[in-house]
């Protein structure tokens, strides 16, 4: 069997045997299960495709597995309090965890605790990184969502408490979930709250773009990858789909009986706590307190599959399958260091090691230029392609065609040789 491309990683809070389970996205068959305790909500994280991290339910411990060793814990990270949310940066360099009112930020390669951000007034409920790992957003029970620039947070300047780049303060009740779209700093952030609204913000300016008021509290929210749709999981078990850029083609509309893609996925009977959309935007996975994970076909809004669990579902993530998840013999490229519990503990312990501290601050601070350069490069690339296809001179193409034909010939010859060799091998009487 070929290894699946995308898998669903789920966990629930009641199962006595498994902490978290990996399912195949398309067949729904259970592939792997990780043992040991139960994960609390919004804490199940895969780091660099090599480690699985999750916070133990009700304890101040983060469990770490190597992704291919499902039976054994690699490490337990002790935290100063119960972890309410956990997130690893997509580039695998940092881990952020919400502990009570504070956000703890570790550097993965050294295990150092880089900073403790206590800007929230009440418990932090959710954390998300942007896909370029340059920023992260934290939402809390104090109705605030804060946008942090990673480079400003990990500055070594100790006199200045790091300040969030933006404070998103338009919610009137605790924030339950947030989702950060793609495109780095130009991403859009969706926040869901108990005040029955979902708000979409622009990360780059901190401005509110859209606010949708629902009839029920919204417990989870996500975008599809192209950000055409916003999915909002309600406290009554419905999942609401808001179309963000509806095409106003009138000729289609007159024949449409339903209304514009603003529709409801019905099936869950209790709070929908987590949502995730597959890479191609066709399948939505939702986890609920009614102890099921459901997979939905987004186009037709039907439940494709229902995976029952033993307790309220705490995490559902659709992700690309890490390369060595199904190869039991592999080892992580770099082992995980021990994570320290205190700020600057390293100074006391390994002061003599003479280590060099390398920060990525400079790189991330100059992102403005890199964006521009990227755009220019892309532009020149595109121009080059069109130039070549449209204005390519005949001489050049002829040479090229000749080259390619030659290549094909060689490949054919190799293939033939290979075939002969193997047929010889097979037909040879043993």
């Amino acid at each position: 069997m070929a290894a699946p491309l995308e898998v669903i990683l789920t966990s629930d809070s009641g199962s006595p045997l498994w902490n978290s389970t990996v399912f195949d996205l398309h067949s729904g068959s259970s592939l792997l299960s990780y043992r040991g305790g139960n994960s609390s909500a919004r804490t199940l994280v895969v780091l660099r495709g090599e480690f699985l991290l999750s916070a133990q339910l009700g304890k101040n411990v983060i469990n770490v597995w190597e992704i291919q060793r499902k039976d054994q814990l690699q490490q337990k990270i002790l935290c100063p309090g119960v972890v309410t949310c956990l997130m690893a940066s997509p580039n695998g360099l940092f881990i952020a965890a919400g502990v009570a009112e504070a956000v703890y930020l570790w550097e993965v390669c050294t295990g150092k605790l880089l900073s403790i951000l206590s800007r929230h007034y009440q418990d932090v409920t959710c954390l998300k990184f942007t896909d370029d790992s340059s920023h992260f957003v934290s939402g809390g029970k104090d109705n605030l969502a804060l946008v942090w620039s990673l480079s400003s947070v990990i500055q070594l300047d100790l006199n200045h408490a790091p300040e969030p780049r933006y404070v998103l303060s338009r919610h009137s009740l605790p924030i339950t979930d947030l989702h950060c779209g793609l495109m780095g700093v130009q991403a859009r952030v969706a926040t869901a709250s108990l005040d029955q609204t979902v708000k979409v913000w622009e990360l780059s300016s901190g401005e509110l773009l859209l606010s949708v008021l629902f009839d029920v509290e919204i417990m989870s929210v996500t975008f599809d990858p192209s950000e055409y749709f916003l999915f909002c999981g309600g406290s009554d078990g419905n999942i609401f789909q808001v179309s963000l850029c509806s095409q106003s083609l009138s000729r289609d509309k007159s024949f449409q009986s339903d209304n514009d893609g603003n529709q409801v996925f019905k099936g869950h009977r209790n709070l929908v706590t987590c949502l995730s959309v597959s890479m191609d935007g066709t399948i939505l996975a939702s986890g609920s307190h009614d102890e099921t994970v459901r997979l939905w076909d987004i186009q037709s809004k039907q439940s494709i599959r229902c995976l029952t669990h033993k307790g309220p579902v705490t995490n559902v993530v659709i992700m690309t399958a890490p390369a060595n998840m199904f190869l039991p013999d592999t080892r992580p490229a770099v082992p995980l260091p021990r994570f320290s519990r205190h700020l600057h503990a390293s100074e006391g312990d390994v002061g003599d090691a003479g280590e060099v501290c390398v920060r990525l601050g400079r790189y991330t601070q100059e992102e403005e230029e890199t964006y521009l350069q990227k755009a220019e490069r892309l532009n020149s690339l595109m121009n080059a392609v069109t130039d070549k296809s449209v204005y390519g001179d005949g001489e050049n193409t002829k040479v090229r065609v000749a080259e390619l034909e030659e290549e094909v010939q060689t490949l054919k010859k190799i293939n033939k040789d290979l075939y002969d060799f193997s047929s010889q091998l097979l037909t040879k009487p043993t």
């Binding site: 300016s205 509110l208 509806s246």
Partner: protein, 943 residues
């Protein structure tokens, strides 16, 4: 020949004049013996038919051409005519705007004063009619003429140019402010002259003080008044420039500039949508047309550094350097003006009363200070403003201290009234200048504001700042706490000063001191709404600042203020919804931050706030109600009386069903049974309390009300009969639907509690204990109970007997009510009927025992004659409902008995329609049942 000669001589005969004789008249002499009179062509005989005319029949072309006339009177009358014509036919204005403006503007520099005055009037008239965007293309011309007038060599024209400027400032401030550079120089030249005398030039340029105040003798007003009038305009002009700036969001500028509550609105206009609208409306959502791929201009991410426009730095006031260089020229002049004003007073005053000023001097000083203040605000961006402040401090702090603070709390001087004549003259002059009278309080407050902005942020050089800041602080404190009447604007400025002091001083005791003074003012009884909300927003903004300022975090005054908010809210009641809204917002902000004092106070006040009769939650408008409901989430503990109140709020119908539903859900979230908990938040209410809350909300009537219903007897409730064993109290339609919605929500909450069977157990205990004894039951309650029971019942659980009996009675009574409602059949009860029918049917089909009991209750013998048809209808309705068939078939014997009785009792009369229907339905059901049982045989039987 001789004769010929003689003849010729005749032609040229010499006239001989003789002495004493009259000189004969010459033949060609003109008779000047007539008199002339001028002909005034005041009206044109020939009507100008091409367009409308004035009463003198002059068209607009004539009038405009007359403006070029050499005679001042003609020009004057032409201007008057223009005004008349334009006011008669405004459409002319649009057609001839460009010519009008250019011609009228040209006469601003006319030599004759009357012409200028008339021209200003015409301009004012035009300005009133034409919006700014239509004047914009002609504005360069207008401003060129304005500059021309301002720099004119004749002082009279200079003076009148101020009036011209006034008009423009009043109507087109934005256009005027767009190009400030030229005008600023003009202003300077009006009150001063450049000292560029040869060799000294270089040295002076370095110092930047090559301007000196000028004194001209031939003005009609004193030079002080002239300066005042110029400064007044300069102030207005700068104000316009400042207002044109895009408002930068920031604590300081907002605090000093706008109302404290107003956060700078973003450029993007967020979309606010409602899920229901979204589902039903055809209009699509387009989020991304707002933003697109590029970040908005307000983003602080910059793709490339902003290109500094090279030549334009000096032209506009867009950069800090430009402002700074302008300030460097202006401030010394202002200081001179100030010194002059104060010196002119002290000349005839003794030194001990040097702080007493004449009104004139006071207004001059006031203008000086307001211009200084505006100069500060000119800096386009926040950080530049700070650097500008620092620059001011560096350059001028010494001067300011010396001049401004010397006699600081200024007072007004009682002007002696003995010179009547002089006073009269002066008043005339000041009328010409038209400077508003300035109170000493305003002067002092402005001075505070200017000086405080120079205060240093950190306490690095506290010693040097100390003396004058203390002086200011004492003044502010005294002004606030002694209860002096302050206008809104003055209070605003004072609060701005306090804000700045508190944030820059960072000293706990001083902060407490100042805030306490503000609090004294806040506690005054009769403040206007505007003032009150200003103070409120001042405090709440200050509270929101506490993060970065440790000296604020534990401020006692702030805590006291916060703790007093819930009390104020409950006392305010419904009298002022706007103020309540502000209060609730402040409370919400503090509650979200988990402020202990506020939460305690809120908890003690909760019962009053959420009182179902006169609590704030039912009195305020909908938005505030919603916020009040949201506030519930933050309550640390919900006591039983509070829950009782809330339950009443939900059922009483004074808040909408949707809001009541969200109230129930919020309480659900705060109970331990919700399952949503992040981190360690202790539950607000005990499970027992929560369930009893749900139960009493489900019943919809308090025990008192139910008791009174029992006693009230028959006048309101429908009487009980064998067909309807319970006496039903018909609730109004609105209440019924409201209760129905709430029942749905309660059922949902109960369903999610966990074990369904336990939940049902609790419910039936409740029904058994409190409700089974009732004889009069509201129909909404009965329907709600049936609905809840059918939703919660697990097949594994058997309901106990008394509950079943009560429910069956409810069910039968409801069915009977349904029949009567159907007879009335007004369409508006449709929803009610459907709800009742749905509840009954669902209960009957999910609880098989219930159906049996209902059927057992039907004792045909006890029924009266007219109730028989009703029973028949009930039965046929049940029979027609297919999902019930199997259950009914299980009770065939009972059913058959009833029908036999029915047919027997109704034999007396002629066989009626209802009976036929019933028998038909019955036979159909039975045959269908038997057919499904026996297959083909049944079919054969049918045929």
């Amino acid at each position: 020949m001789k004769a010929k000669k003689k003849k010729r001589q005749d032609d040229f005969q010499k006239v001989k004049l003789k002495v004493g004789k009259k000189k004969p008249k010459a033949d060609n002499a003109t008779n000047t013996n007539f008199r002339t009179k001028g002909i005034h062509l005041s009206e044109q005989l020939k009507r100008d038919t091409s367009g409308p005319t004035t009463h003198r029949q002059l068209g607009i072309n004539d009038l405009l051409s007359q403006l070029h006339h050499y005679n001042a009177n003609v020009k004057h009358s032409a201007l008057l005519g223009l005004k008349e014509l334009l006011s008669l036919t405004p459409s002319l204005l649009e057609q001839h705007l460009s010519r009008l403006l250019s011609e009228v503007a040209a006469v601003f520099t006319d030599k004759d004063g009357n012409v200028r005055v008339a021209a200003t009037r015409v301009l004012r008239f035009i300005a009133q009619c034409v919006p700014a965007e239509r004047v914009a293309p002609f504005f360069p011309l207008l401003s060129a003429h304005l500059s021309c007038a301002m720099t004119h060599i004749e002082t009279a024209i200079q003076e009148d140019s101020m009036k011209y400027l006034d008009v423009l400032l009043e109507h087109y401030p934005a256009l005027l402010a767009a190009r400030p550079a030229v005008l600023l120089t003009n202003f300077l030249e009006l009150i001063s002259h450049r000292q560029n005398s040869g060799g000294a030039k270089k040295a002076q340029e370095v110092k930047g003080t090559n301007w000196a105040l000028s004194v001209s003798i031939d003005r009609t007003v004193t030079s002080q008044q002239w300066r005042l009038s110029v400064l007044l305009r300069l102030g207005r002009f700068l104000q316009a420039v400042v207002e044109e700036r895009p408002v930068e969001e920031g604590d300081m500028s907002v605090a000093t500039e706008g109302v404290f509550g107003s956060t700078g609105e973003g450029r993007l206009k967020p979309l606010f949508l409602n899920w229901e609208e979204l589902t039903y409306s055809k209009a699509g959502v387009k989020v991304y047309e707002h933003s697109g791929a590029k970040p908005t201009p307000r983003s602080s991410y910059r793709l490339r550094p902003e290109v500094a426009p090279g030549g334009a730095v000096g032209e506009n006031l867009d950069s800090a350097e430009a402002v700074q260089s302008f300030a460097a020229t202006l401030v010394p002049l202002l200081l001179e003006v100030w010194v002059e004003a104060s010196a002119s007073d002290s000349s005839w005053n003794s030194t001990d009363s040097a702080h007493l000023l004449t009104p004139d001097a006071m207004s001059v000083m006031f203008q000086v200070l307001s211009i200084l203040q505006l100069l500060r605000k000119l800096a386009p961006q926040q950080e530049q403003q700070e650097s500008l402040d620092a620059w001011f401090r560096k350059e001028y702090l010494g001067d300011f201290k010396q001049h401004f603070m010397k006699n600081f709390p200024y007072g007004t001087q009682d002007t002696p009234k003995h010179k009547k004549k002089v006073d009269l003259k002066r008043s005339k002059q000041s009328a010409a200048v038209s400077a508003p009278a300035v109170e000493p309080l305003a002067l002092n407050i402005t001075l505070c504001q200017v000086m405080v902005s120079l205060g240093q942020r950190q306490g690095l050089s506290r010693e040097t700042d100390g003396d004058w800041l203390t002086l200011l602080r004492t003044f502010v404190r005294d002004t606030l706490s002694t209860g002096v009447k302050l206008s809104y604007r003055q209070l605003h400025m004072l609060l701005g000063t306090v804000w700045k002091m508190v944030l820059t001083q960072r000293s706990k005791t001083l902060t407490e001191d100042l805030l306490a003074a503000v609090y004294v003012y806040y506690k005054q009884k009769n403040l206007t709404l505007q003032t009150r909300s200003l103070l409120l927003s001042f405090y709440s903004k200050l509270y929101l600042q506490e993060q970065g300022h440790t000296h604020l975090a534990r401020s006692k005054v702030l805590c006291r203020w916060l703790a007093s908010l819930p009390v104020q809210l409950s006392q305010l009641g419904h009298r002022n919804p706007f103020l309540s809204e502000r209060l609730i917002l402040s409370i919400q902000a503090a509650a979200a931050r988990g402020n202990k004092d506020l939460l305690n106070s809120l908890q003690t006040q909760a019962c009053r706030l959420y009182d179902p009769q006169e609590g704030v939650v039912v009195l305020l408008p909908v938005e505030s109600q919603q916020r009040m409901v949201q506030l519930l989430y933050f309550l640390p503990k919900m006591s039983q009386p509070l829950l009782a109140n809330l339950s009443c709020c939900c059922t009483a119908g004074r808040i909408s069903a949707g809001l009541a539903a969200s109230l129930i859900r919020i309480i659900h979230l705060r109970s331990s049974l919700s399952g949503w908990s992040v981190g360690s938040q202790e539950v607000a209410l005990q499970d027992v309390d929560y369930i009893s809350f749900l139960f009493s909300t489900l019943t919809g009537f308090s025990s008192d009300k139910l008791a009174s219903l029992q006693e009230a007897g028959d006048e309101s409730a429908l009487p009980c009969s064998p067909l309807s064993p319970l006496s039903l109290y018909p609730t109004p339609l609105e209440q019924f639907t409201h209760h129905w919605d709430i029942v749905e929500e309660v059922c949902h909450c109960l369903e999610t509690l966990g074990s369904k069977s336990q939940c049902f157990d609790i419910l039936q205990n409740g029904i058994c204990k409190y409700l089974t004894k009732l004889a009069v039951v509201p129909d909404s309650m009965a329907a709600g109970l049936l609905r809840a029971v059918s939703r919660l019942l697990d097949l594994s659980v058997l309901p106990i007997e008394p509950v079943l009996r009560f429910l069956s009675q409810c069910c039968l009574s409801l069915l009977a009510l349904l029949i009567t409602l159907q007879q009335e059949a007004p369409t508006e009860t449709n929803h009610k009927r459907e709800a009742i029918w749905g509840a009954c049917i669902l209960a009957l089909s999910t609880v098989p025992r219930l159906l049996r009991m209902v059927l057992q209750l039907l004792r045909v013998g006890d029924l009266s004659e007219e109730e028989l048809p009703q029973l028949g209808q009930v039965l046929s309705m049940l029979l027609q409902h297919t999902p019930l068939h199997n259950q009914l078939l299980a009770n065939t014997a009972l059913l058959q008995e009833i029908i036999q009785h029915l047919t027997r009792y109704s034999r007396t009369a002629t066989r009626e329609q209802w009976l036929t229907d019933l028998l038909y339905c019955y036979s159909l059901t039975v045959s269908h049942g038997s057919s499904s049982h026996r297959g083909n045989m049944g079919l054969q039987d049918m045929y």
